[in-house]
Symmetry: C2
Subunit: 364 residues, 2 copies
Amino acid sequence: MSKVARSRAKNRSVTIRDVARRAGVSTATVSRALADPERVAEATRAAVVAAIAEVGFTPNASARSLRARSTKMALALINGIGDSFYTAILNAIESTLFEAGYGLVMGDTRGTPGREKHYDQLVRSGQVDGVLLFSGRLPQEGFDDLSRSIPILLVCNDIPELEDLPVIEVANRDAAFEMVQYLVSLGHRSIGYIMGPAANVEAQERLRGVREAAAACGLAPDDLTIWEGSFSFEAGTAAARRFIAMPCRPTAVFCASDQVAIGFIKAIRDAGLSVPDDVSVAGFDDIEYANLFSPALTTMRQPRAELGRRAAQHLVSGMSGDRKETPQRTRLPCTLVIRDSVRPYRAAATRDRAPELKATRAGV
Amino acid sequence: MSKVARSRAKNRSVTIRDVARRAGVSTATVSRALADPERVAEATRAAVVAAIAEVGFTPNASARSLRARSTKMALALINGIGDSFYTAILNAIESTLFEAGYGLVMGDTRGTPGREKHYDQLVRSGQVDGVLLFSGRLPQEGFDDLSRSIPILLVCNDIPELEDLPVIEVANRDAAFEMVQYLVSLGHRSIGYIMGPAANVEAQERLRGVREAAAACGLAPDDLTIWEGSFSFEAGTAAARRFIAMPCRPTAVFCASDQVAIGFIKAIRDAGLSVPDDVSVAGFDDIEYANLFSPALTTMRQPRAELGRRAAQHLVSGMSGDRKETPQRTRLPCTLVIRDSVRPYRAAATRDRAPELKATRAGV
DNA sequence: AATTGCGCTGTAAACGATTACATTGAACGC
DNA sequence: GCGTTCAATGTAATCGTTTACAGCGCAATT
């Protein structure tokens, strides 16, 4: 206890100067012994490492950053950290950044200008070497200058105003196209689509995919029912209410996210309908629980780990000075994951006579 | 384009000196005008802010940190960022830290010594002002000195070797006690418990609660079946296999986490049994999907947002120099969330003929 | 009129590392 | 024996801020 108090009083940290004194060399030599050991005699190098161990020295990061003009940190800016969709991406990002010697700072704008301004200052103050913009944004003002002085990358976050920024995302149009194609291939010809927020570019791209697939498969415009919403559970329940009220309901509903799909299915079920017996439901994302849900969700898997890995790699190459303009836009393909929430249209028709019919698909 | 190239070449940043020159004052005055405007004449203050706006100045964080010996950053160290259990906690932490003017650095040890060492260096280098140790650990060596020089807080992570560190966690014993008491109150007298990793102190505490509740409710030691495992989905499926093989099965199973419960239920169901008809299952945590799962999970809710908020508050008060020793151990209460996966024993008894089997068991 | 006090500001020394430049001494070639 | 070279090291400037200390007017006090 007295030991604690004593240590607390002494606040001076052990610096490179202490090491130098201890090893009987100059600070420059100590620094060199650490930075590139080749440039220093073996004997002195040994003396330096011994001295470091003896005095317990760790180079001060602020001093180093100040001199080197680099903090070896990257910022991931999100609007809503709480959304577990991002965890797998962030996981891969941390991993890749770590490998490259970078740390990860997390920020959440929560869509408020105050917070956006704050994080803007954070990066302008040089506290990070690069930025990954997820759903988070930065203030418009002076953004161009900022993005010229530090690498900024959009991840799953296609902001139209920021045309000239590199983007890493998923092939949204193609993914939606494929899903609709799949549904049609199972015999569904009346399809509902719960799109995300209308303002969201990714949602727009998916909608485009849905429309193009419908056209390509020979569906009439009336065969497609579009509900606007968001990516949330509630958007699913809201759409379900409208779905139930329809006189002629679609036989399959494609949702903009797994959350939406789960909300939709829950509400459908509460109304006494069954999935997939009465209606097939497909999701998007393949979140952690898509497979655990009942019925296990048929969905479009976003390669989240790969997304994170690629984003981090791209950012790292930017931060380490590789200013060669790598491809401005990377679109990773999604993969269709077939589980139990979607069923061929004909099977649905025979539902009443075959109650014991069990899904032939098993989850993982 | 040429503009881009030009900007890139010019690397010198705008400093406080530029502002000083522009405003016709000294750097000290500029600094004061920002730090506490009271100490500077109104006219000069105005001139300074004007100059700042004109030259576009943001104070350099590294220089400031170097001088102030504080980075205004905190590290959250986790073993497995990918686990979505933490997202709600981290969400609250980011929020609280932000309010107090601190940023959040995320680290993942992944249980490897190399990474632990790395993050140890990170905090020793002064890159952060405080540390929240979740499941992540730091190397034993020199830890005492470290924890004396910088606030470190354990969150939901009771490490026995680190007795004198402040801890914020959940009242694990009480929560487990309450759950078992609840199950018994519904008539269950043969209860299974899938505990977490045996080495985990939190799991041990919960086990203690289970045992004490069983004793308090007058259950015999044989009425309790304990399976060791982890907090994962797989631990649930593994336990389910053993459960199914039992001649006289418990009528209720309490799981160390919702993940475990979901795994258990899935496996139980695949074997043709039903929850809660054949067996009641309770979880722990109340993760995001506990309510979406079918059947909706009866579980013990960990107050994750509150946990994060309190942890961050405690850490902030430590980082801002409040060295008054606040309570070393904070235990927040959990709340029982009753949903559909647990059912009274008697209700199960009316189901069909199977209960007779259990009735004899209960008669023991 | 001299002294004191005070509000405002400038000068310069930190903070702790990196690194350009200078210096030393030994080896080597002639 | 003397310049040349080169490896190894030291000296000191630098990164951009904060802040202790000091100075300078000007008003108020004696």
